[in-house]
Amino acid sequence: METTFPYEIPDREIYRYLGYRNALPDEAVLQKIALCKERLIKDVSPKAIWQYYDITWQDDTTLLLEGIPVRSQNLSRNIADCHRICLLAVTLGPAPDRYIQKAEVTAMSDAVIYQAISAAMIEAYCYHINGLIRKEAEEEGYFLRPRFSPGYGDFPLEFQRNIGDLLQMAKNIGITLTDSLLMMPSKSVTAIIGLSKTNSECKEAGCEVCNKSATCAFRRI
């Protein structure tokens, strides 16, 4: 099969985004998922860019990146003791948005399925890129901290603009920002990854750091 997406997409994640917690979708829904997945896999154009920077700390909760002060307790905790970070931006390109928009006219049930699959795909792609970065970091004797994105906790969303400028995100991989700092294409992720000389055991970030996790219907169990 023609594919632009050779990465493993965990079905469980798709089901979870669709609101199935422990249950499995029925045959009709599974068929729809398979069909939508086939289309997405053929049409997405995953692209990523990342860049390493040395950072300095102004105080416990403020770091300086290329002269830009970033104040955030949550981020600072996440990358405490790091003096080097990786800035990362990844996207699936505009195909998921187009499929979702189209399905919103023809069948909303397809729209939510495209939405769920592409959400699982961008995660899977991040995981893959994260692995590449880990390899590069390990060669230099660094360990990675979990990905941390603008908007997590008190890490200001405004930092999206800085990431956009530093990585030349629009030109290089086509991620643009709206005036309200949403990313377009919507299936895009930006993040800071801390590089540390010490190996600290920590889980993948995600539900664990989200302040809505207690009430969220889509949280991982």
Partner: protein
């Protein structure tokens, strides 16, 4: 005196400069620092950079204005651009190149994505570029070079801005990835088709890739372009070295590739990221003593969408005619109600049925046709990849359609009347397009093929005055009913044949016109269609949902050896069971709702979310029961069961929506049956995704369910300003307003909307939802209800608008 650049680029070597950003970085420009500020802060560095390229031999060199636009320089744009052109002029004098170097006003992308995918309106994009063009042209730039464009729509905005605001030559290069695609999906062919239509003087590729990786793209460019091609590669692919971006291809290697590229028919050569004056000098040294290879590609009739180009004349193609109110009551009502969902779904249905092009006709006396044309074209092109045909007699609507179209459109139509040609051809000249020419003029419709051919020739000649090539004209042979003149099919077919054989042109027919007034028209239509194709018909305007027509098409393609191995025919018909080869083409008949389910009751069909069986069941029920009884006794209970299941967690979102879709399909059938009875609504509900937010999937889920439960939903769409919501609530006396927001940044607009509603229309109930919403959050912004999911909104609307039903 410098040679006219428009002439020079046709045959002579023209060398562009190389990397600018990468060299400024080497001079100390920080990541995230705006390069154009150096025009003011470090002018000597910019001057030196220009001189280094001029001394290397560049013919065209770029002002340092790549990112200069009002978004990035809200306060001092003018100053930045004036300084940039001034530095370029100084450099040219300093290097003694007054006579033979050209200053290119460099224009890069805005960094924003255009509507409807993004939030930058097309007009705003044009204005952002226009401002820079006006300043640059005034200050003395010799040409406009638009570069690194990764979105065809933004490229179009930039070209229009350049053309509308100066008379300078316009050159443009776009950035393709290793698969030969723009970031927004355009191909080489679709991009070239659109840009040539817009009248650029040269086009090509820059950035993204090194010369080696660009080869397949360059090959395609040189195979189809009819204007000179520009190639400005990076010095290889970027590589990360100790945190710095480096490019590996040195000047000699680069020049060797460029020499090869030149031999493919490219004589406008330069570089992009990572290239240096040495790269340019080495390239010039390699090629300058050779004779440039000049392309001589024939002009081919092509139209395009954002992502595909379609050649006309190679094989017969189908234009779907259903987006047209003529004779369609429901469509007319949809236009009056601005029911875009209905209009768009007509388009998508035709795409599914096998249309290659979609006709867009939204003319109705009582509506604002230009505005409607703009709206439908922009919405349609964001969800279909098919090229569009702009079909209108209103010249303003035609211009709006062409302006906002993301590609090169088919235009329906011009005719041999001087008045028509005077109005239409200037628009074709400006925006590009393939235009349908009706073979009639002031003397009416010629009754012979000679007469029609003569009119066609007249139209070709007039078009040529505007520089519109004969290939961009498709002649309508005019199908007229045989019921009033039994010779008319012969005349039409002869006209089609002569357009092909004598004019070597392309032809089109509104096929079904042939049978007006006759019974079972598709019998005549489908045979006439096959005969017309046999006589050389290039384009057919038909209803692709009409199976006899599609059969004629697929059969003709197979019979005329235009369907390799009969693949398309087999793919379409192999799986269709013999007993369903009827007048209705139903590709999904065998797969989605399997025949074993056909016996399901209406309740069962809705609960299981099976549309087709729901339709079948409701049709059966209507034979024996009252429509209202079916709604109250079957449909509502079925929806309730599913809704309750969803609340309990035993039914999940996809099923909930599939049930809603099945119910909706059944409702349509019932509505049809109850045409004459006035239908009761439970009341009006406004839904909107608030200002700043462009993700409206959540809102749309809610809409489907509210529709289902009998509410009259006024869907204001996404990115809706508070005032619009409030004004609508007041005008239409709406009691319940549902607001959706995805991000904390847009909840602010939600709060503002609620505040304004309380002030201007006190008593209106607000219900809010969205990814970041919580009960506390909803309380804090003064919402009346927090809906954790779509069913919660239905419940709330019920509790306010029809408390008795609970």
């Amino acid at each position: 005196m410098r040679q006219d650049l428009r002439e020079k680029i046709k045959t002579d070597w023209v060398f562009c400069d190389g990397g600018m950003g990468t060299i400024l970085q080497a001079k100390g420009l920080k990541g995230g620092e705006l390069p154009e500020t150096w025009n003011l802060l470090r002018p000597q560095d910019i001057l030196d950079l220009h001189c280094s390229y001029l001394n290397a031999g560049a013919t065209i060199f770029n002002t340092n204005t790549f990112g200069a636009n009002r978004l990035k320089y809200p306060d001092n744009l003018e100053e930045i651009v004036v300084a940039a052109v001034d530095l370029a002029k100084k450099a040219r004098i300093q290097c003694g190149r007054e006579e033979n170097a050209y200053i290119a006003l460099d224009i890069g992308p805005t960094g924003k994505l255009l509507e409807p995918l993004g939030d930058l309106p097309f007009d705003r994009a044009v204005e952002l570029f226009a401002e820079v063009v006006r300043i640059g042209a005034r200050e003395g730039a010799d040409l406009v070079l638009i570069e690194t464009m990764s979105d065809s729509y933004e490229a179009k905005a930039a070209v229009l801005a350049a053309k509308e605001n100066c008379d300078l030559p316009v050159l443009i290069t776009t950035i393709y990835d290793e698969k030969g695609k723009l970031l927004t999906g355009g191909t080489v062919a679709s991009t070239v088709t659109m840009l040539e239509g817009l009248g650029v003087d040269a086009l090509g590729v820059n950035c993204g890739l090194g010369p080696k990786q660009m080869m397949p793209i360059i090959r395609e460019l040189t195979e189809i372009a009819t204007v000179p091609v520009i190639v400005n590669p990076n010095a290889g692919l970027p590589r990360n070295e100790n945190g710095a971006t480096v490019f590996d291809v040195g000047p000699e290697e680069f020049a060797t590739y460029m020499e090869q590229i030149a031999s493919m028919g490219v004589h406008i050569l330069g570089g992009c990221c990572g290239t240096t004056p040495e790269h340019i000098a080495a390239t010039i040294a390699k090629v300058k003593d050779k004779k440039p290879v000049v392309l001589s590609n024939p002009h081919v009739c092509r139209i395009s969408s954002y992502c595909e180009a379609l050649e006309i004349g190679k094989h017969p193609l189908i234009i779907g005619e259903r987006i047209n109110p003529t004779g369609k009551k429901v469509f007319k009502q949809a236009l009056r109600d601005q029911n875009f969902e209905y209009i768009l779904s007509e388009g998508l249905r035709q795409e599914e049925s096998g249309a290659h092009i979609l006709d867009v006709n939204v003319g109705l006396p009582e509506i604002d046709e230009p505005a409607m044309m703009e709206e439908v074209v922009t919405r349609l092109q964001s969800i279909t990849s098919l090229p569009l045909q702009i079909d209108t007699t209103d010249i303003e609507a035609l211009e709006r359609g062409l302006r906002y179209y993301n590609g090169k459109a088919l235009i329906n139509s011009v005719n041999g009347k001087q008045e028509s040609m005077d109005a239409v051809f200037p628009l074709v000249q400006k925006y590009g397009g393939v235009v349908i020419a009706l073979a009639l003029d002031e003397d009416g419709i010629p009754s012979t093929s000679e007469g029609r051919i003569a009119v066609a020739k007249k139209i070709y000649a007039e078009a040529a005055k505007y520089g519109i090539p004969a290939e961009d004209i498709v002649v309508d042979g005019l199908a007229m009913t045989i019921s009033s003149d039994t010779d008319s099919a012969n005349v039409t077919l002869d006209t089609i044949r002569r357009i092909r054989d004598e004019l070597h042109g392309h032809s089109i027919l509104g096929v079904s016109n042939i049978s007006f007034g006759l019974p079972h028209r598709e019998i005549i239509n489908s045979f006439f269609f096959a005969m017309a194709m046999q006589n050389g018909l290039s384009l057919a305007i038909i209803n692709p949902g009409n199976e006899p027509m599609m059969r004629a098409y697929y059969a003709y393609m197979a019979l005329s050896n235009q369907d390799p191995q009969c693949n398309a025919f087999i793919e379409r018909y192999a799986a269709v069971p013999a007993d369903t080869v009827t007048a209705v083409y139903a590709p999904g008949a065998t797969s989605t709702a399997t025949s074993s389910n056909k016996e399901l009751s209406l309740i069962g069909s809705i609960e299981k979310g099976m549309q087709e069986s729901a339709i079948a069941a409701v049709q059966k029920e209507l034979e024996k029961r009252d429509p209202l009884a079916i709604i109250n006794e079957d449909m509502i209970p079925a929806l309730d069961t599913v809704g309750k299941g969803f609340e309990k967690g035993s039914v999940f979102l996809p099923q909930l929506l599939m049930s809603a879709e099945a119910a909706k399909a059944a409702f349509e059938v019932i509505k049809d049956a109850m045409k004459d009875t006035k239908q009761e609504s439970k009341g009006k509900v406004i839904l909107a995704t608030v200002k700043g937010d462009i993700h409206d999937i959540g809102k749309n889920i809610v809409k489907v369910l509210l529709d289902n439960y009998g509410f009259d939903v006024i869907d204001l769409g996404k990115d809706v300003p508070p005032e619009v919501i409030v004004d609508t609530a007041i005008d239409q006396q709406v009691e319940v307003v549902g607001l959706s927001a995805l991000m904390t940044t847009t909840v602010v607009s939600m709060e503002e909307t609620i505040r304004l509603l309380k002030e201007k229309k006190p008593g209106t109930k607000t219900v809010v939802g969205g990814a970041v919403m919580t009960q506390e959050y909803a309380d804090s912004i003064g919402a009346d209800c927090y809906a954790k999911d779509a069913m919660a909104t239905v419940k709330y609307a019920n509790s306010i608008l029809c408390p008795d039903s609970l």
